[in-house]
Amino acid sequence: MTTDHDVRVLALPDSIHRMNFRDRIEIVPGHLHDRQSLDEALEGVEIVFHAALISPPPALTPERMTEVNARGTAALVAAAAGRVRRFVLVSSNNVFSPHRSPAVWPLRDEALRMAHGNPQQTALGESLIAAEDAVFDAADRGLFEHCTLRPTVIAGRAGGFIDNLVTGILRGTANLDLQRRMWDVMQWTHGSDLARAALLVAGHDQAANRCFTVAGDQPVTIYDIQAMLWDLMNIGRPGNPYAETASLNNLGLPKFEAAGLKALGWAPQMTMRDCLAECLGRLEFHSSASLRLPPHMVDS
């Protein structure tokens, strides 16, 4: 909308009420397996932004991920092939091969793919790789140009993963050692930075038929988040009790490098601190009666 494009949205009928600016955009109710709604949504469209892929997996069955991510994308590709100029796919960094060791950091745009992790994450990775392959193939056949974005954990509105993470830390219920092992080093991308990346590649000549890693600049562990939350909630107060643990747990090396996007002029504008401050605002932690702050957060 800010770039003077007319915007049409294909949305599930029961999600339309959550959409902002409903009076300024055209909405086609439907879903990815409904060819009629796809045709209606694609009529006269130049650029498709396909962001309807689902994750993270805990509440989703592998079959559902396959249905939406793999088959749903294939259906959209079939409908869009030969009709649109560019297809921007918002995939995920879940498609990358295992990258636990800092020796293989930072992962770049050209990193190899391999579904991995626990069975649910593997299923998610397989469904995303299948989605990507459907898009790549249509581009190989010259039916449109693709730009595939692979963002890290996305912060911002509807960022359930991050809200849960933050709430767990604030409530003192998070098992930080376990989460340190599970999530290792993270490098969140804010939704607004992802959106700017999508807009950039959609209109950039040098972005055609390329894949881009999308990642913020700051590598963090769960302990960094704990320390940053303390800073945010104790502005101006010295002696962060979590700073040393956070420092010991973070090599400070980036795990992902958005080299391709940066070469096109993109840079993340939202820092980790911004993401967390926004999350705290969303959780209304100052006034929320349900959020019982543990003593170690209150008394410091």
């Binding site: 060791s101 050209e110 193939d137 190989d140 840079a267």
Partner: protein
């Protein structure tokens, strides 16, 4: 402030300051000379920075006379227009102590010029030990530090407290904008300090860590003995609202990461690749390691078998799929024929990406072709016919995967009167392997053949019972299946012994539970009220969500044929990513296995 002049942008600090200003949408003007300085423009003087790089380059030449004169003129011009001057300067020696290094002498001269021309508008940022991870001199110093014992060069003092280039650039930009800071100086430093011994130990630890791609455990820096920081950056943090982000340990790690990447790029050390199973690496690079080979997969229309077929085709093998359902097989053959062009394009694209990424020449070739043969493997007569047909179709069989499986709630028998689970999960794979010994040996002579049998992990807990092979005493479906597969493990060892020297390698692969419909017949009907049924269904779903994906299970089977670590797996059971040992069920011995071999032969109508 209308715009900001950067005194020079050739140094890394000057460039970093310029880039940061641009990123923050602050107008940047070229500081060509003192003529035409816009009213109110600010000036950031970065000329001294290269000489302040952590003491790693004491020989770096000082500023030439004409540069001193130019800086002095710029300062005067900006001051005359009412602008602010930010100077990145070195630490000042104590009063009465003469400057020692060239950087100190230069700093003293420029500060004198600043005091004379723009004292009221000046903001001085005092820095020492600036660390730029990309600085070749810093990298050389770290290299020497890693190799030396004890420390002989940098850090030059007993403790190090540094500032990163990016943080220094941020402080310089903040100093242009902050209120109430004119006429003051600030110590710009990260609060964390470390002894030179700790710096060396950490450099050596990081250097080891960053060349080991197999590390999986959580990485924490050891808590080195604390040192009291001698410098305090609190005033800068409060006045400029900037807190240095990168500690010296982070800067050290970044520098070492850059050094290792550079060495790999130059070929000084081998490239460090993420660990990846051979099958996935081959699939993602468009390689065709199985080109020209023929594979037979039983249970081809099932989930694991179907995934194995697709992977084998992508890796270049021609595949003959076998399954009971003729219609499903025909549908699969039609779908794969239709998909062949898609797979071929995918392979060419991945191959082209490999060439772009890793170099080398393109590899020609296409994915394999698929044919289907219907057969009920539990039926002895059908099995014999199948073997004859396969031998006619493929005089050389390079790969045989026994992926057929089925389970029933009630005991059933084959037309020959053999319990069906035993027939399908033990007798069929053993007999088919024996009946295809000729084509397998032909492949063995030509370079090697593989026979791979997936089994469940439950087989280890339920050894086969020679006294009741046919489960007549009791029929508990899951246990019957596990016992049959325990027998298959034993027969894998026996077949391996029989085929030793033929070039045919045989292994069993124990898979974790896989998310297929295979075990669904064993699910008890849901009972109770609606809520109870929903809870039970949810729990069932949660258990299924923890099961391996069929594609992942299939990749484990094919990995056996491609990965170097399984080259010696002949006659072995493979569990997880490693060889668990000889294919011998717990408590088994040669005599028991021999008796089972005889029993299998008798039930299959084959000679011993």
């Amino acid at each position: 402030m209308t715009s900001v002049l950067v005194s020079e942008t050739r140094s890394r600090l000057g460039a970093a300051v310029r880039d940061l200003l641009v990123a923050r949408a602050i107008p940047v003007a070229e500081a060509g000379n003192a003529v035409g300085v816009p009213p109110g423009a600010a000036l950031i003087v970065t000329d001294l920075a290269p000489a302040l790089m952590a003491g790693v380059a004491p020989s770096r030449a000082g500023l030439p006379e004409d540069r001193h004169a130019r800086i002095a003129d710029l300062i005067a011009a900006v001051a005359a227009q009412g602008g602010r001057v930010v100077l990145v300067s070195g630490l000042m020696p104590l009063p009465g102590v003469p400057p020692v290094t060239q950087a100190e002498r230069d700093a003293r001269r420029i500060e004198a010029a600043l005091a004379e021309r723009a004292a009221a508008q000046a903001v001085i940022l005092r820095v020492s030990d600036v660390m730029d991870p990309a600085d070749p001199d810093l990298r050389a110093a770290i290299r020497a530090l890693i190799d030396a014992s004890p420390v002989v060069g940098w850090p030059l003092t007993d403790q190090l407290q540094a500032i990163g280039l990016a943080d220094l650039a941020a402080a310089a930009v903040a100093a242009v904008q902050a209120r109430g800071v004119q006429g003051k100086w600030f110590d710009i430093v990260h609060p964390e300090a470390a002894s030179r011994v700790a710096v060396q130990a950490e450099a050596q630890r990081i250097a080891r860590l960053l060349v080991d791609p197999d590390v999986t455990e959580v990485q924490c820096r050891p808590a080195y003995p604390p040192v009291t920081a001698r410098r305090d950056g609190t005033a800068a943090a409060e006045a400029l609202h900037v807190r240095p982000r990168d500690s010296l340990f982070v800067l050290l790690a970044q520098a070492i990461q850059g050094m290792i990447a550079q060495a790999a790029q130059q070929g000084t050390i081998p490239p460090i690749r993420p660990p990846m199973p051979a099958v996935h690496r081959a699939l993602e690079t468009g390689a065709l390691p199985l080109a020209g080979m023929t594979a037979v997969v039983t249970g081809a229309t099932g989930q694991i078998g179907g995934a194995a077929v697709r992977m084998l085709l992508r890796l270049g093998a021609d595949v003959v799929g076998v399954a009971r359902g003729a219609e499903a097989g025909a549908r699969m053959a039609a779908a794969l024929a239709e998909e062949h062009d898609f797979l071929a394009r995918q392979r060419r694209r991945l191959d082209a990406e490999r060439v772009r990424r890793d170099g080398g020449a393109p590899v020609a070739g296409d994915p394999g072709r698929f044919r289907f043969v219907p057969a009920d493997l539990a039926d002895r007569a059908a099995l014999t016919d199948l073997a004859a047909r396969l031998t006619a179709m493929a005089p050389r069989i390079d790969i045989l995967i026994h992926a057929a499986g089925a389970i029933t709630r009630e005991r059933q028998e084959t037309p020959q009167g053999v319990e069906a689970t035993l027939a399908l999960h033990l007798l069929a794979p053993v007999a088919l392997t024996r009946l295809l010994a000729g084509p397998l040996a032909a492949a063995g002579r030509a370079g090697g053949a593989w026979v791979v049998s997936p089994v469940t992990q439950a087989q280890a807990e339920h050894p086969y019972d020679p006294a009741d092979l046919q489960s007549r005493a009791a029929y508990l479906p899951a246990e019957v299946l596990a016992r049959a597969q325990s027998g298959l493990v034993a027969m894998t060892g026996a077949l391996a012994e029989a085929m030793t020297g033929s070039g045919v390698r045989i292994a069993a692969v124990a898979l974790p539970a896989v998310r297929t419909p295979f075990l669904l017949p064993l699910d008890e009907p849901l009972t109770g009220g609606v809520t109870a049924q929903q809870v039970a269904q949810t729990q069932r779903e949660q258990r299924r969500m923890q099961m391996d994906t069929p594609a992942h299970a299939a990749s484990r089977l094919i990995e056996v044929m491609l990965a170097a670590e399984f080259a010696e797996a002949h006659g072995c059971l493979i569990q997880g990513d490693a060889i668990a040992g000889p294919a011998l069920p717990p408590g088994d011995d040669r005599a028991r296995a021999g008796a089972l071999w005889s029993a299998c032969a008798a039930l299959s109508g084959l000679p011993e």
